[in-house]
């Protein structure tokens, strides 16, 4: 069962934590196109946070094309773009990409990459690296090489 986890003491705003985690879940295939997200009121109650916080996260996700909101159906994971353009821009969040990034849904093409990313995380953890250190490594790898 997919779960969200928010840290109220984190310097990252709670709505951003929700947005990043949902984006990440979509990217690795934990959430598939058509999956329905819980109503913002229900998720807010479950997390014990304000409804507006969840609504803002959902708005950001919708603006990024990760989810769509439909009347009566609610918020659902959007279909992946037909032909994803090349790669992501430097500085994109490794947790799932910034709003506007169309290449975020796990497809048959990216599934191999997801497996490799998981293997990288497992290897880094086995070597004692923290999650923040792994993220720093990937951010560094995303930066353009100096010639």
């Amino acid at each position: 069962m997919t779960a969200l986890r928010v840290d109220l003491t984190s310097p990252v705003p709670v709505y951003e934590q929700i947005r990043a985690q949902v984006s990440a879940l979509v990217a690795v295939g934990g959430l598939r196109p058509g999956d329905r997200l819980p109503a913002s009121r229900d998720l807010a109650r479950d997390l014990g946070i304000a409804v507006g916080t969840v609504q803002r996260a959902y708005r950001e996700l919708e603006a990024g094309g990760v989810v769509t909101s439909r009347r009566r159906v609610g918020t659902v994971v959007a279909e992946p773009p037909a032909s994803p353009p090349g790669g992501t821009e430097p500085g994109d969040s490794p947790a799932g990409g910034e709003p506007g990034d169309p290449a975020r849904t796990a497809t048959s093409d990216t599934r191999g990459l997801v497996d490799e990313a998981r293997a990288l995380v497992a290897r880094a953890r086995s070597q004692g690296l923290s999650d923040e250190a792994v993220l720093a490594l990937i951010r560094g790898a995303l930066l353009p090489e100096r010639r």
């Binding site: 840290d7 109220l8 003491t9 949902v22 229900d42 479950d46 609610g74």
Partner: protein
């Protein structure tokens, strides 16, 4: 007299349920490890079930005493099981509202939609079918009863001979029963909604929290099914007796068979909810390697 019945049938559950808030009150602070959380969750769920069951039984006994003390025993006895279902569901709904709220700096929640249908499963379908079937029975008995609404008549020899027998559950009992049944169904839905919407229990993995939620829904529906089923069985049995006495053998036997099915079926279905305790809290939750202190 009907007003008195309604006051008793509706006022007493409110008084009894008010006690639930005191009995199911949380004691002590929130548990701090998985084992203590499991123990506390299991204890809370068991307490809700025990208090709900006890209050519903007390409700039935109170109505029986009232029936023996005052007039219109048929109406009071007729509404008793459905008032018990109402009390049971209200008690459970209040108990569900007493689960701990999310606390702490790190919080988690499952990213899934929960619906009444998902939580209720086959029990909800069966309960709805039982209520719908009983509604039809109430209407049929109401339409076939004599003018007094308490007996059934059979006219023989072209009107020269009339056989009458009672008690027969016509509109005199049927209208109050319909009212209380509607309230009981509403209370059941409210209780299920409370189960569906309660926040996740802190520290418990989502799968185990969901298992406890399904246990709560199963027990709520089992209790409501039991009381409605028993009430329907009693209703059908009284009708069968009256129909057999006036010589309507087919109708009488059919009602008797339906009464047996309603009685046995409801008891068996309610019994199947008891093992949910293990599935919901004990077995479904993995034990930690080093058990912590029990809350």
């Amino acid at each position: 007299m009907h007003a008195l019945v309604i006051v008793i049938a509706l006022g007493l559950p409110v008084l009894i349920v008010a006690l639930v808030v005191l009995l199911v009150a949380r004691r002590g602070g929130p548990p701090h490890d998985l084992d203590a959380t499991v123990v506390a969750a299991r204890r809370h769920e068991t307490r809700i079930s025990a208090v709900a069951a006890t209050t519903s039984i007390v409700m039935v006994l109170a109505l029986w005493v009232a029936a023996a003390t005052w007039g219109e025993p048929g109406v009071l006895l007729g509404v008793a099981p459905f008032t018990a279902a109402l009390t049971f569901s209200l008690a459970r709904a209040l108990g569900e509202a007493r689960w701990p709220r999310p606390t702490g700096e790190v919080r988690s929640a499952p990213l899934v939609r929960r619906s009444l249908r998902d939580q209720g499963g086959w029990r909800l379908t069966l309960f709805a079918s039982t209520v719908a079937g009983f509604f039809v029975v109430l209407v049929v008995f109401g339409l076939t009863a004599a003018d007094d609404g308490r007996s059934v008549e059979r006219v023989l020899d072209a009107g020269r001979e009339t056989h009458s027998a009672g008690p027969y559950p016509g509109w005199a009992v049927g209208v109050p029963v319909l009212l209380v049944l509607a309230l009981a169904v509403g209370a059941t839905l409210v209780a299920l909604r409370a189960v569906t919407r309660r926040p996740p229990i802190g520290l418990l993995p989502p799968e185990q929290d969901d298992a406890i939620r399904r246990t709560s829904a199963a027990r709520e529906l089992a209790g409501a099914q039991l009381w409605v089923g028993l009430g329907a069985a009693a209703y059908l049995a009284f009708a069968a007796g009256a129909l057999l006495r006036v010589g309507w053998l087919g109708g009488g036997v059919l009602c008797l068979l339906l009464a047996v099915v309603a009685f046995v079926g409801s008891v068996m279905i309610a019994a199947t909810a008891l093992p949910s305790r293990r599935a919901g809290a004990a077995d479904a939750v993995p034990r930690t390697a080093t058990p912590g202190p029990v809350a």
